[in-house]
């Protein structure tokens, strides 16, 4: 067994990188010889997808020579983050993919290393949250749901991702905006989007909160009805009002971006910002963003750092109100 499996293991192991390297086209003078891409999540998830999309677009635009990926998953990025901070300190060609989930996870777990310890480079994409009900629900409009919440928030069960995540925080902010106690939220946490969707379309809960893309297909098939979206603007092509339009002053979105390690100098930081700016302008990146139905919210450098600081403060306040921080 050993000789056979070892040989096959070697063949299998050598196949993947070979195939991945197939059309390596030669372009003049890439911006970086190689980039170390650190994904603090498992392969196949949202952050991983963002990282691989950066790789694909950078390669076809000739921006980067090659990529090395490392995935360290766990606890909303809180397992990978300390590793990135310690091992990549001062490296000018290392990037970490992260986002709003990481902000909340750092606060909830009282992690010693948080998103504040890395260098913000650029925010790339975001996705607004949506509030949905089963197609069979008696709640036809947001007002119906709002009235039910005001009558007794505990009687309106709302499904979403893990406690303290973006979905839970949005519900907390909603209740606060409706002058209710966020701690009265009847929040039902599910692990993984699939279980939450099944509970919503099966009518097991009154409503559900998630990113738009998770629910889009269920809405298109008539199994779910969207009542409101949490972004600043309506989602293009989706005829659902924002919470602001409905008189509820709440906005929230799940954003994703890239960060550099701590301890890099101003020149190294500027080089990475230039790279991300070039990536964002490339047609290859625009094509991927359109194909995945992401919304492009590019914001680089200090402007991003300022927004991030505000986001952290807001999240902290919202989590305190839910009794999670």
């Amino acid at each position: 067994m050993i000789s056979i499996t070892r040989r096959r293991l070697l063949i299998g192991a050598s196949l993947a990188p070979l195939a991945a390297a197939l059309p390596r086209m030669a372009f003049a003078a890439p911006m970086f010889e190689s980039i170390n891409m650190f994904i603090p999540a498992a392969p196949g998830g949202g952050w991983d997808g963002t990282g691989r999309a950066i790789e694909a677009a950078s390669k076809s635009a000739g921006l980067i020579g090659g990529f090395q990926f490392e995935n360290v998953s766990g606890a909303g990025g809180m397992v990978g983050l300390p590793k990135f901070v310690n091992q990549r300190k001062g490296m000018g060609n290392a990037l970490l993919v992260g986002g709003s989930v990481m902000v909340g996870a750092g606060i909830a777990n009282k992690s010693p290393v948080t998103i504040k310890d890395v260098t913000p480079i650029a925010r790339l994409t975001e996705e607004a949250g949506v509030i949905a009900v089963p197609a069979s629900s008696p709640f036809k409009t947001w007002k119906d749901l709002e009235n039910a919440l005001k009558a007794n928030p505990k009687a309106v069960s709302v499904a979403g991702g893990s406690a303290g995540g973006t979905d839970h925080l949005l519900l907390g902010m909603l209740l606060r905006a409706l002058k209710l106690n966020p701690k009265d939220a009847s929040y039902v946490a599910f692990s993984g989007g699939g279980a939450a969707i099944a509970a919503i379309i099966g009518g097991q809960v009154s409503a559900g909160i998630s990113g738009y893309s998770e629910f889009a297909e269920q809405v298109a098939a008539g199994r779910m009805r969207l009542l409101a979206v949490s972004g600043n603007k309506r989602i293009p092509g989706v005829d659902v009002p924002t919470l602001k339009e409905l008189g509820v002053p709440v906005t929230a979105a799940n954003w994703r971006g890239v960060f550099a390690p701590p301890g890099i100098n101003a020149k190294q930081k500027q080089a990475l910002i230039d790279y991300m700016t070039a990536l964002n302008k490339s047609q290859a990146w625009k094509d991927i963003v359109a194909q995945r139905k992401w919304s492009d919210v590019f914001l680089a450098g200090d402007a991003f750092a300022k927004e991030l600081a505000e986001d952290i403060a807001e999240t902290e306040a919202a989590m305190k109100e839910l009794g999670l921080a």
Partner: protein, 506 residues
């Protein structure tokens, strides 16, 4: 007939030489990752995801289908031969399968697993082809209350894997339940039993515990025993083929396993472990040879292995009809769809019908390829047992370590692997069964979380478990299974106690 026509269209695409090659490659790779402890289909497919930028969608999904089914076939091999299940779904197969191997019947055990996988995989795929929309509607009727009831039912079935000593079995179960609680609590976001280690926030990975306790524990136990060279582990005797008697005892468990496994795959939680456990329980109860269980009963291999493969087909139902992933592998396949700009959902069958039917057709083809691949391999696999065990287990140790490190890039996981290896060794020494521990780890969180979800929905009213018809029926079945055997034996015993008295009177 349109379903049939569409399926034929799928076959036409999947049988194109260029695409079929991907299918064969997938089956081969899948069997391999199934055989290697600690490497599963989810990880393999995830590692191949970057290919979505290079390979056409149809070929990619045929490859994935091959890996997915292949891993289910291959997983039983290491379970049976060396008692080192690589996935929790094949753990139950290991219980009887390895006993059979120890009695020199490794060949028939592997054969009944392979043929059972084919039978159940094909039944599951046929059911997926024709009944998917209906089964999924039933699955949607399962809410948190029903999952809690289902977990209780499964806990009753745990009694069948407790082993000779109930107390030892319950100790293992309790340790498993405790391990299941480690990590951030889903409903409150608070860490439990993590002792400040960030690596434990997501809980203890079942695969690490499984490979640690079984594969590493077994290796340590053999090292402790010290006598390697005499080939004490297992001797081969008899045919590697199934005898007429084996066929007779296998076909019903295959069908029952398929019937149990398929619907469970469709449930948005529940996975493949519950049906294998329930199948084992059912076979032990229904067998004409209950005394053979624990010593290598072929029914105990045939049933759970069939259930395992049928549930693999069932998992694809909610994925293809609703876009809902119900297992780690399904979640990775989902992200592959997204890599091609396809949003899997209720409209997938209409918008991407060509692709979906190619995928389904390739499942039929994959099953045939895997049977052809695996039956001849039975003869080869059993020869592995001629390898001196120090070589074999050294290899297993290396592969387990590499697999666990590779899955998470974490030395912490490797440390845990060996810690659980030591625990597995201690349990072997003290004759504590390992299966209840793994079952506890899987059932504990499912029961706890779904119970709390149900109570949030019902605003704290415990009556919800009794007032919902589905949940109430499941609980009633659990109660009946628990009480009936005792009641029956009490009723049987009662007249026996009377008879000596009546004898005396005469």
């Amino acid at each position: 007939m349109s379903t049939f026509d569409a399926l034929m269209g799928g076959f036409a695409t999947a049988l194109q030489p260029g695409i079929l090659l991907y299918g064969v490659g997938g089956c081969f790779l899948g069997t391999l990752v199934g055989v290697l402890p600690g490497i599963g289909p989810a990880l393999t497919i995830a590692l191949l995801l970057p290919l979505t930028y290079k390979v056409p969608a149809a070929a990619m999904f045929v490859l994935f289908a091959g890996i997915y089914y292949g891993a289910m076939y291959g997983g039983s091999t290491t379970s049976i031969l060396i008692n080192a299940p690589g996935e929790s779904a094949t753990m139950v197969t290991a219980m009887e399968g390895n006993r059979m191997a120890r009695r020199g019947r490794a060949g028939p055990a592997l054969a009944t697993a392979a043929i059972g996988s084919f039978v159940a995989g094909t039944i599951g795929t046929i059911a997926l082809t024709f009944f998917a929309p209906w089964v999924v509607e039933i699955a949607l009727a399962f809410g948190p209350a029903e999952y809690a009831a289902l977990s209780v039912l499964a806990l009753v079935a745990v009694s069948s894997v407790l082993g000779n000593s109930t107390l030892r079995g319950l100790i293992a179960l309790a340790v498993g339940l405790l391990l299941g609680f480690v990590g951030v609590d889903l409903q409150t976001g608070q860490p439990r039993l993590t002792f400040g280690a960030a690596e434990l926030l997501d809980g203890v990975e079942v695969t690490v515990v499984l490979v640690g306790i079984f594969a590493v524990g077994e290796a340590l136990f053999l090292a402790w025993q010290g006598h390697f060279a005499d080939g004490e582990v297992m001797k081969l005797s008899g045919s590697v083929k199934l005898s007429r008697e084996d066929w007779k005892r296998s076909w019903k468990p295959w069908l029952r396993g398929a019937a149990l496994g398929f619907p469970f795959g469709a449930l948005p939680a529940g996975g493949s472990e519950l049906p294998t456990l329930l199948s084992y329980y059912a076979e032990k109860r229904l067998s004409k040879h209950p005394e053979e269980f624990g010593k290598g009963a072929i029914e105990g291999v045939a049933g759970p292995e069939a259930a395992n493969n049928a549930s693999a087909a069932g998992v694809l139902m909610p994925l293809l009809t609703l876009g809902i992933p119900t297992s780690a592998t399904a979640a990775v396949i989902l992200s592959a769809f997204q890599g091609y700009g396809i949003q899997p959902g209720p409209l997938l069958f209409t918008q991407q019908s060509g692709l979906v039917w190619t995928l389904i057709a390739s499942l039929y083809i994959g099953n045939v390829i895997l049977l052809l691949l695996n039956l001849p391999l039975v003869g080869l696999w059993v020869k592995l047992l001629y390898i001196p065990s120090q070589w074999l287990y050294a290899g297993i140790l290396v592969i387990s370590t590499v697999a666990v490190y590779g899955a998470g890039n974490s030395l912490f996981d490797v440390g845990m692997l060996f810690a659980f290896g030591v625990l597995g060794f201690a349990m072997r020494r003290l004759d504590i069964p390992a299966a209840p521990l793994i079952v506890g780890m899987i059932l504990g969180p499912l029961l706890e979380q779904s119970m709390r979800q149900a109570l949030v929905i019902s605003q704290g009213d415990w009556g919800t478990f009794a007032s919902r018809p589905l949940s109430a029926s499941l609980l009633a079945i659990a109660a009946a299974l628990l009480v009936m055997p005792r009641l029956v034996s009490m009723l049987r015993k009662a007249p026996r106690q009377e008879s000596p008295a009546s004898d005396a009177r005469q």
